[in-house]
C-alpha cells in the first residue's frame, strides 16, 4: 500500500499526484516526443523526395525512410503518448495510486527496446517493407520482433491502467462514475487490447515465416488479420484524442459535457462498431464478397461514424455552453471569437477538431465506401486522409494537451511562449494543406509509396498532368511548413523540461473546482443544469454536414465517369 508520502499536491490544479505515476507519465511523454522528432525527420525526407523538382533521396533510402517514418510516428509516437494519457486519466484524474509501477516500467522498457530493434532493422536496409509489411515481401525477423515487443509493452501499460481503475474503485478515491475523460481513455485501452491481440495473431507467424519455420502465409488472410490490428490501432488514437478534446474543454473553459449520456454512448459506439474494421482496406482485393465488404465497413449503419459525428457536436458544444455561461452570449459566435486563440492549448485543440472532422473524417468515409474505393485505392489520397486524421487530428490534440500538461507536471514556464502561440497554426495549417494536396494528387491517380512519378528508366512512361506535379510540389512546401511547426513544438517541450524557469506563480487559470459529490443530488434536481442551447455549434455542425454531403456525392459522380466495371 502506498502512503500519503508517495503523493504531491499539484499547486496549479489541486490534483493529488502519485509520484511513481508522475515519473512514468513524464518518461512516456518525453520518449514519445523523441520518436516524433525522429519520425518527423524521416517524414521530411519522404516529402522532399516526392516533390518532383527536389527528389531528394535515392530510391533505396526513400523506401527505408518511408518505412521508418510510418513506424516511428504512426505507432511509436502515438502509443507512447497514449500510455502517458492512460496513466494521467487513471492515476491523476482519479487521485489514485498507480497500480504496479514496476510492471509499468517493464512495459516502458519493452516498448522502448522494441522500437529501437525495429528501427535498427529498418535502418540496416534489409527491411524496407513499409509499415504494413505485406507478405510475401519479407523483412528480417528482428523487424517483426521489435514490433511484437513494443506491442507487449503497450499491453502491459493497458493492464496497469485497468488495474488502477480497479484500485480507485476499491479504495473509493472518487464517487459515482469515472470522469468522461477517463471513460474515453478506457475505451481507447479496450480497443488497444483487441488491437494488440490481433497483432500477435498475425505478426508472430510472420516472424516465424521470416525465420524459415513456416513455409507460406496467405496474402489475403494476412491483410484481413493485419488490418484488424492496423485499422483498430488508429481507433485507439481517435478514442484517445477525443478524450483529450474533452479534457482540454474542461481545463480551458471548465466545460461540462452537454450530456454525459450522449457523449459516453458515442464512445461506446467505437468499441462496438470499429473492432473488425479491417474491411476498409480490402475493398478492391480478390476473394472477398461485396456482402462481406459492405457489411463490415458499415455494419449496415455506420454507427462508428455516428459516434464521431456526435463528438463533433458535443465537444465544441460543451465549450460554447461554458462560454455562454460566462456571458459571451452575443450573436451566434461571440463565444468563439472571444476564445483564447493565442493560447496554443486552445488553438491546437480547435484546429484539431476542425481539421480532423472536415479533412480526415469526410475523406475517410468517402474512401471507405466499397465502390468509391476503386478510384482512390493506393493512390496518395490514402496518406492524405490519414495525415489529416493522425497528424492534424491526433498529433495536434496531443500537442495542445502537452502545452498544458508539461508546464503543470514539471512546474516550469514554457521557454518560448511567443513561438508557441504560432506553433499550432504553422503545424496544423501546414499539415492540413499537405493532406489536402496529397488528396488532390490522389484524385489524379498519383500512386502512394512511389519513388518517381516521372518513371525514370521505365520501359513505358506516363506523363502526369501539370496539376499533379504542382500538387506534389505544394505538398512538399506545406510539409516543410508543418515540419517547422513540429520543430518548434519539440524545441519548446525539450527546452522547457531542460531549461525552463521554475513556475513562480500559480497558473492564471482559476483553480479547478473541487469535484462535486453527486450522492446528495436527487433525481428531481436533474435537468442538464449546466447546459444552454448551443446555436453556434449547431450551425457549424450543419456546415460540416453540407460539406460532407456535397463531397460524398461529387465522388460518386467521378466514379460514374470511369469505365464500366462489373
Amino acid at each position: 500500500m502506498s502512503s500519503s508520502a508517495d503523493f504531491r499536491i499539484c499547486p496549479d490544479t489541486g490534483f493529488k499526484i502519485h509520484l511513481p505515476a508522475d515519473k512514468l507519465i513524464k518518461w512516456n511523454a518525453v520518449t514519445a516526443v523523441v520518436f516524433l522528432l525522429i519520425g518527423g525527420l524521416f517524414g521530411i525526407g519522404v516529402a522532399m523526395t516526392r516533390w518532383p523538382a527536389v527528389h531528394l533521396l535515392p530510391a533505396d533510402m526513400f523506401y527505408m525512410a518511408l518505412t521508418a517514418h510510418g513506424f516511428d510516428v504512426l505507432l511509436v509516437w502515438c502509443i507512447f503518448f497514449e500510455i502517458a494519457i492512460l496513466y494521467f486519466a487513471s492515476s491523476i484524474l482519479l487521485g489514485c495510486r498507480l497500480a504496479t509501477p514496476k510492471l509499468a516500467w517493464l512495459g516502458y522498457w519493452l516498448m522502448l527496446i522494441g522500437a529501437v530493434i525495429t528501427n535498427i532493422a529498418v535502418l540496416r536496409g534489409d527491411s524496407s517493407v513499409m509499415f504494413t509489411s505485406y507478405v510475401p515481401m519479407m523483412a528480417a525477423p528482428d523487424f517483426y520482433l521489435g514490433i511484437i515487443l513494443f506491442a507487449v509493452g503497450a499491453l502491459v501499460g493497458c493492464f496497469v491502467f485497468f488495474g488502477t481503475l480497479v484500485i480507485a474503485k476499491r479504495e473509493k478515491t472518487y464517487e459515482g462514475s469515472v470522469p468522461l475523460v477517463t471513460f474515453g481513455a478506457t475505451v481507447a485501452a479496450i480497443i488497444a487490447v483487441f488491437t494488440i491481440a490481433t497483432g500477435a495473431v498475425i505478426l508472430i507467424p510472420t516472424m516465424l515465416w521470416s525465420m524459415g519455420a513456416i513455409a507460406h502465409i496467405d496474402t489475403v488472410m494476412y491483410k484481413v488479420v493485419w488490418w484488424a490490428m492496423g485499422h483498430s490501432s488508429q481507433q485507439i488514437n481517435v478514442a484517445a484524442h477525443i478524450a483529450v478534446w474533452y479534457a482540454l474543454a474542461a481545463i480551458l473553459f471548465g466545460a461540462k459535457p452537454l450530456s454525459e449520456k450522449v457523449s459516453r454512448t458515442a464512445f461506446l459506439l467505437y468499441i462496438l462498431f470499429l473492432q473488425l474494421a479491417s474491411a476498409h482496406h480490402l475493398l478492391v482485393e480478390p476473394g472477398l464478397s461485396s456482402e462481406y465488404k459492405v457489411f463490415n465497413t458499415s455494419y449496415a449503419l455506420y454507427l462508428a461514424v455516428l459516434g464521431s459525428m456526435i463528438h463533433g457536436l458535443t465537444v465544441p458544444g460543451a465549450v460554447e455552453a461554458a462560454q455562454r455561461k460566462k456571458g459571451y452570449t452575443k450573436g451566434m459566435f461571440e463565444w468563439l471569437r472571444k476564445a483564447p486563440w493565442g493560447n496554443p492549448a486552445f488553438s491546437g485543440f480547435a484546429l484539431s477538431i476542425v481539421l480532423f472532422g472536415f479533412l480526415g473524417g469526410i475523406s475517410g468515409v468517402m474512401m471507405g465506401t466499397e465502390q468509391l474505393n476503386i478510384i482512390i485505392h493506393n493512390t496518395i489520397y490514402v496518406p492524405g486522409h490519414f495525415h489529416a486524421t493522425v497528424v492534424t487530428g491526433t498529433t495536434l490534440a496531443f500537442m495542445a494537451l502537452a502545452y498544458w500538461l508539461v508546464p503543470v507536471l514539471w512546474q516550469k514556464e514554457l521557454v518560448l511562449p511567443g513561438l508557441a502561440k504560432w506553433q499550432p497554426y504553422l503545424f496544423g495549417i501546414g499539415m492540413g494543406l499537405a493532406a489536402t494536396f496529397m488528396m488532390g494528387a490522389g484524385t489524379l491517380g498519383v500512386p502512394r509509396r512511389h519513388w518517381d512519378i516521372n518513371f525514370a528508366d521505365a520501359a513505358i512512361g506516363y506523363d502526369f498532368s501539370g496539376a499533379a506535379h504542382l500538387m506534389m510540389g505544394l505538398n512538399g512546401v506545406a510539409a516543410l511548413m508543418g515540419g517547422i511547426g513540429g520543430a518548434i513544438f519539440i524545441l519548446n517541450m525539450v527546452g522547457t523540461i531542460l531549461w525552463g524557469k521554475p513556475k513562480t506563480k500559480a497558473a492564471e487559470a482559476e483553480p479547478a473546482p473541487v469535484a462535486p459529490v453527486g450522492g446528495a443530488a436527487t433525481v428531481s434536481s436533474y435537468g442538464n443544469a449546466g447546459t444552454l442551447a448551443v446555436p453556434g455549434t449547431f450551425t457549424l455542425a450543419m456546415v460540416f454536414l453540407v460539406a460532407f454531403i456535397l463531397y460524398f456525392f461529387v465522388n460518386w459522380k467521378y466514379l460514374a465517369g470511369v469505365w464500366p466495371i462489373s
Binding site: P179, E260, A456, A512, G518
Partner: protein, 180 residues
C-alpha cells in the same frame, strides 16, 4: 467537468438537450444514406467489382497469359519489344504482374466488354489504370476476374501502386483502346 466524475450521480437519467437530439437524428439518417448508397450502386451503378476470384498457381496463370499472347499478338512495341495483343471482343483477357512489368500490352475495342484476369507471379502489386484512375489490388496465388468496358478510346497506362521493391517505379504497362 469532463475531468471530474459527473456532477449528477444518476447522469443516465438526465434529459438530453434539444439541439443534441436533433443532431443525433440528422447524423443517424445521414449514416443510413451512406450505407444505402453501396447496395444502390450495386443495383443501378455501372462500376462494381464482380468479386469473381480463383486460387491459381503463378505458373498456370503465366501459361494462360502466354497462350493468349501467342494467339492474338498483332505487333511489338517499344525498345523492349513487348507484344501488343488484340484479343477478340467479349473474350477472356489476361494481364500479369511481375517484378517489374505489366505484361502484355493489350489492345481493346471501344465499347466492347472483356473479362480481364489479373494476378501476380511474385509479390503483391497494384493495378492502377491512368488517367481513368481505376485501382485494383493484385495478389499472387489469386486470380481476380473483372468485366471491363472501355468507353473511351486512346492510350491508357497501367502503373503499379503497391510497393514492390526497388524497381517499383519502373513497373508500368499499357492498354490501347481503339475505335472499331
Amino acid at each position: 467537468m469532463s475531468i471530474f466524475p459527473p456532477a449528477q450521480r444518476i447522469w443516465w437519467k438526465e434529459p438530453i438537450e434539444r439541439s443534441e437530439i436533433l443532431w443525433v437524428t440528422i447524423a443517424l439518417v445521414w449514416c443510413l444514406v451512406l450505407f444505402f448508397m453501396m447496395p444502390y450502386w450495386h443495383l443501378y451503378g455501372d462500376q462494381n467489382l464482380a468479386n469473381e476470384a480463383y486460387k491459381i498457381k503463378p505458373e498456370v496463370f503465366a501459361e494462360r497469359t502466354e497462350a493468349m499472347a501467342e494467339k492474338y499478338t498483332v505487333r511489338e512495341e517499344g525498345d523492349t519489344g513487348i507484344p501488343v495483343v488484340h484479343p477478340p471482343a467479349g473474350s477472356d483477357i489476361y494481364m500479369l504482374a511481375r517484378l517489374w512489368e505489366w505484361w502484355p500490352v493489350l489492345e481493346l475495342e471501344k465499347n466492347q466488354s472483356y473479362r480481364l484476369h489479373l494476378s501476380s507471379l511474385d509479390w503483391q502489386h497494384g493495378f492502377s489504370l491512368l488517367p481513368e484512375n481505376i485501382n485494383i489490388q493484385v495478389h499472387p496465388d489469386y486470380e481476380m476476374v473483372i468485366t471491363i468496358t472501355p468507353n473511351k478510346s486512346g492510350e491508357f497506362t497501367v502503373v503499379c501502386n503497391e510497393f514492390c521493391g526497388i524497381g517499383h517505379h519502373t513497373m508500368t504497362g499499357k492498354i490501347h483502346v481503339v475505335d472499331k
